[in-house]
Symmetry: C2
Subunit: 449 residues, 2 copies
């Protein structure tokens, strides 16, 4: 056989890790490329195979002998090969490595445990936290021309080691998803009914690169036990089942809760991650907040004269910024969680802002009165007490407004509001509260600032 | 028929709402009590029925004619009757109103939508957030002597309007739960196999008064699609399915998140609850924290001389207590969430405390150095800068320790750690931080306190 593909050139490019050029070189008839792959050393084969375009890959795969197919698939678990792909920049990886063909995904996923599957995910091209990562190929597929009786026979034959047999997926010869039928419908129907007559043709499905949170939302909203996963050509590659979704919902909630306190999310549980790792998860926000918080020092020093004149003013600073922070944290938590579970929508932002503003005034009025009385009891000075009370009213109203406003802004510019840590809200409020306090104090106590 | 039960007396007691004495009067043969109930006016019947002890109630119910049975069950949705029971004190209610007999529960639950069921729950005697509240009686029951073929026939006959047919519950004549068999097993078995040979006899089950979170945990841990609910006599009364559990997991996470910010949980969503209601959910913690926070004012006034001498000391208060609060909130959030999802156990408390203590020192050291340099840049005074830096180290170490310690204490004395709001942690740290700061400042700056 005469090669149009230059084997020596390709081996040199493999050695040089010159993958961009290499991908270009891989032109030719699928049979030729399959032949070439057979001639390469085993550790090079999976790399070459992953550099093929998706359409090409499936044809080349079919031209390979089954032992070579098997060797390539085994190579997907090889740490060195994973390392090579992992070392590429994410951009490169996205450009060089196509989605795997459905038939290869299915074979591969069946050979691997979920842990192995997860470990090889860089090679597969599925992003972290997508349906592709969490799906299983252990489903039962049916053809639409089968009868209920034939379906039950097939389920009996292959159902034993499938993740679920309660939803059955109807596909055509090219693995396109035609519909879904539940075992419930199968069992409750007469034996001679055709699958195509009882299946649900407008099947809700997700794509391999859909976010796992979106998958969870579908299962939750539709009360499904599983949802089918298709690739970009709409071919069925796996399913995600409800038991995995429950874990995801809990993990996502945990992540949101930790983010809310300025702790970065971790792959591992508390004890599994090292002390250094835990340090890293927390120091980022701490340093950022420290930077932001230096503003409070500058503001106070900027009003040094005022404090020197009336030292007692400093006594009310912690309680004022503390209360403001608490009020703001309440608002931001309500809004962030409401947005996360869909209880609150961005299009209601103005209404909620108005509502929280009014709540802020109410809470501020009540606490302001209490604070005024308390300050008078401490100092016997109505002017200072009035400064404190007024500051409470203003600070708490501004705090609830900031706490409501910031999550909406983050959402509107396209990020996850859960990214805003509560400490960021409270620190922002600390700074604002001091400015308000000194302004009111300066005006009412007649200082020239 | 001669009554040993005095009808006139009972009618008078009903008018007087003298339920304790009334319950005592209801002695006699079930047939007599059934007769008496028939003679009473319809609005009195459900009340009398609910005052019967559980064993008595089931026998009386069986002695009633079906129209009277139906009238009593209808009465369970009557707002006036619910109102009467609702007006009793919780203690009284627990003493007067027994669990409903399984047969009545089943009939009643089938007549009602989930909303109606929820609304009548005071009459049923099931507590808020228990399995009894969220269960459905729409399951398929089998007998253990049935074959797979007979089971499939039964499923076909009655399965149509059941919540699930994927788990089938095997009971004896007295409705005791003998085991569970999945539809998967039924479908995959030969038609002449007996249910008792393939059922799972050590069925995991919950009791009507088990907390819904515990039910969720079971479904989550075992990857179940449903779990059976039994009453105190181990009689099957309903099932809880996985789709309800998903909603509960999300609701519980939301509740924990809101509690964590000092917002009381609400039955209704943000917009459904009134402004006044939202005010109530938030003002409680705000006032409590204000009270606690007054300590900060007293501490500062107690060190008035120190501040008068070195006014610049006041400039570092917000950043110091802010950083301490953030560090403590990180620790408490990690521990509270870890305890909630079972990632952390009380028996590891000491190890975690040690770990967080070490983390506190590391973070404190790093921030302390940064703070020292920043303070020097602001003030050009090494002693004051050193006071600030040392305070950071101590405050952050103490903060992570308090943040770790408090949730464990709450858990050990038997409460839900999620009850501790983050603002409580940060306010506690505010107070502690000020004491540490003034102690260090006093010592290093040579003030006599």
């Amino acid at each position: 056989m005469e090669f149009t593909v230059d084997r020596e050139l390709i081996e040199r490019q493999l050695e040089d890790r010159d993958y961009h050029v290499l991908k270009e070189s891989l032109q030719g008839h699928p049979a030729e490329i399959a032949e070439l792959i057979t001639l390469l050393s085993p550790e090079h084969r999976p790399i070459i195979f992953r550099l093929l375009g998706k359409d090409n890959a499936v044809e080349v795969f079919e031209h390979l002998e089954s032992t070579t197919q098997s060797e390539i698939l085994s190579g997907f678990q090889d740490a060195r090969i994973i390392g090579i792909v992992d070392a590429m920049s994410p951009d490169d990886r996205a450009r060089l490595i196509d989605e795997l063909p459905a038939v290869v995904v299915k074979t591969l996923r069946q050979r691997m445990t979920p842990q192995e599957w997860h470990a090889t995910s860089v090679l597969l091209g599925y992003q972290e936290n997508t349906a592709g990562r969490i799906m299983t190929p252990e489903f039962v597929d049916l053809q639409d021309h089968m009868t209920v009786e034939e379906s039950l026979k097939r389920i009996k034959r292959i159902g034993k080691d499938r993740e679920t047999i309660y939803y059955l997926y109807v596909i055509d010869e090219t693995r396109h998803l035609l519909g879904v039928v539940s075992l419930r419908k199968i069992v409750l129907s007469e034996t001679d009914v055709m699958v195509r007559d009882i299946m649900d043709t407008v099947a809700v499905k997700v794509s391999t690169d859909d976010d796992q949170e979106a998958v969870a939302k579908i299962i939750q909203d539709y009360d499904f036990l599983a949802v089918p996963v298709v690739d970009k050509e709409d071919r069925l590659v796996g399913i995600v089942t409800v038991d995995d979704i429950i874990d995801i919902i809990e993990e996502e909630a945990t992540e949101d809760i930790l983010k809310g306190s300025g702790v970065a999310a971790a792959e591992k549980s508390y004890f599994e991650s090292s002390l250094l790792n835990n340090f890293r998860r927390r120091i980022g926000w701490m340093v950022l907040l420290l930077m932001l918080n230096t503003l409070t020092g500058s503001i106070i020093l900027g009003h040094k004269k005022l404090i020197e004149g009336i030292v007692v003013l400093s006594a009310f600073i912690p309680i004022l910024i503390g209360s403001g922070g608490n009020a703001g944290a309440q608002s931001s938590t309500l809004v962030i969680r409401g947005l996360a579970v869909g209880d609150i929508d961005v299009k209601n932002a103005f209404r909620i802002l108005l509502r929280e503003f009014m709540l802020g005034i109410s809470i501020g009025l009540l606490l302001g009165i209490v604070a005024t009385l308390w300050a008078y009891w401490l100092q016997n000075d109505w002017t200072i007490s009035f400064v404190v009370g007024m500051s409470f009213l203003f600070v708490i109203t501004v705090a609830t407004t900031i706490g409501t406003f910031l999550p909406f802004v983050v959402k509107i510019i396209g990020f996850d509001p859960a990214l805003i840590a509560t400490p960021l809200i409270t620190t922002t409020i600390d700074v604002t509260a001091l400015l308000i306090y000194f302004m009111i104090a300066g005006k009412l106590l007649g200082f020239n600032l």
